[in-house]
Symmetry: C2
Subunit: 178 residues, 2 copies
Amino acid sequence: MHETLTAVNESTVTGLGRLARFFGFSDVMGRLYGTLLLSPGPLSLDDLGDTLEISKGSVSMNMRGLERWGMAKEVWVRGERRKFYKAESDMWQVIRNVLESREQREVHLALHVLGESIEKLQAAECDLSAEEQQLARYYLDRIGDLQAFFQFAQLALHAVLGSEKALDFEAITKIEIE
Amino acid sequence: MHETLTAVNESTVTGLGRLARFFGFSDVMGRLYGTLLLSPGPLSLDDLGDTLEISKGSVSMNMRGLERWGMAKEVWVRGERRKFYKAESDMWQVIRNVLESREQREVHLALHVLGESIEKLQAAECDLSAEEQQLARYYLDRIGDLQAFFQFAQLALHAVLGSEKALDFEAITKIEIE
DNA sequence: CCCTGCATTCAAAACATATTGAATGCAGGG
DNA sequence: CCCTGCATTCAATATGTTTTGAATGCAGGG
C-alpha cells in the first residue's frame, strides 16, 4: 500500500490513542477505534490484533470496553463465524455516550456530597464553640464555591447534551476560526 | 475539633482528590489543594505532610505541580523561614489555567496533525492506484469528521475562555436546575 | 565560615495498571 | 455427541507511575 496511506493511518491511530488516554480510556481502546474508523469494511478480532500487534486477550477485553461505551458495534458478516466490528462513526453519538454516562455521574456525585456537607455543617452549628463556628462558616464559603463550579459544569453538560438534534458538526467545520 | 468539621473536611479533600484524578492530575495534588482550600491560614510543607500523612518529598513535588498549574501560591509569613502556601481560591482562574495550557494545546496539536494528513492525502492523489484513491477518499471523510469534532472542541474552549470577565459562578449558583 | 533548618532531588521500592497466552468456555457443523 | 474454531477469562508478568527517605543543596544567623 502507498506509504502516504500508511503514514496517515498510523498518525491517526496514534492520535486517537492519545485522545483516548486524555479522556481516561486506555491507549489501546483509542487505537482499536482508530483502526476500525479507517477501515472501510468491518474487522475481526484477529484482524485488529494483527494490525496493532497486540494479543488476542487484549483485543477482546478492550473491544468489549469500546462496545460498552458505544464506540464500536458488532456486525454480522455472512459466511463468517467470527465476530466482526465496525466503529460507531457518528462522533456526536460517541460524545453523548461518554458525557452522559461518565461525566454526568461524576458531577452528580460531587453535587450530592457537597450538598450533604452543607447540611451537616448547618445542622451542627449549635453544637460548635465560637471558634468552630467561625471555621464552619469558612468551610461553607469554600464549599459554596465548589458547588458553584459543579453547577456550572452541570449546566454546560446539559447545554451540550440537551440539544436534541445532534449539533451539526459538518456546519461547524466551515466556521472560520481565528 | 468537632467531628462534623473533621468529616466535612475529609470528604471534601477526598472529593477533590477524585476530581484531580479525573482531570489527569495526581490524587495527592487534589488532596493538597483541598487541604489548603479549607485552611483559613496558609500552611507549610510540613503542615501539609502531617495532615495528609505523606512524605516530605511527595509534598514538595506535588506542591510544585500545583504551583505550575496556578492552583496554589507561595505566601510569606513574617517571622517564619519556611515556605507557606495558600490555595488559589478563584476557581475560575484555576479552570482557565488548566484549559488554556493543557486542553488548548491538545486540541491545537490534533488539528495540526489532521490538517497535515489531509494535505498529504491530497498531494499524493495522483500517485495512487484506483483502489488506493478510493481508500484515500474514505480516509479523507473520516479525518474530516475528526477535524469537525476538534473544531467543535476549539469553539467550546474559546467560548469558555473568551469571556473576558470571569463567568459569575455565584450567579450560576442561583439558577434552578432541572 | 560553619551550623541549622528547611526545601529539593533522585534512586530504590511500593504500588497500580495493562498485557499476555495458556486454559477454559461455548456454539454450530458433522 | 464429539470436534473445530473461535471468544473469553484470568493468573502471571511486564510496564508505568507514585511515594519514600536518605543525601544533597541552599540561605541566613551567629
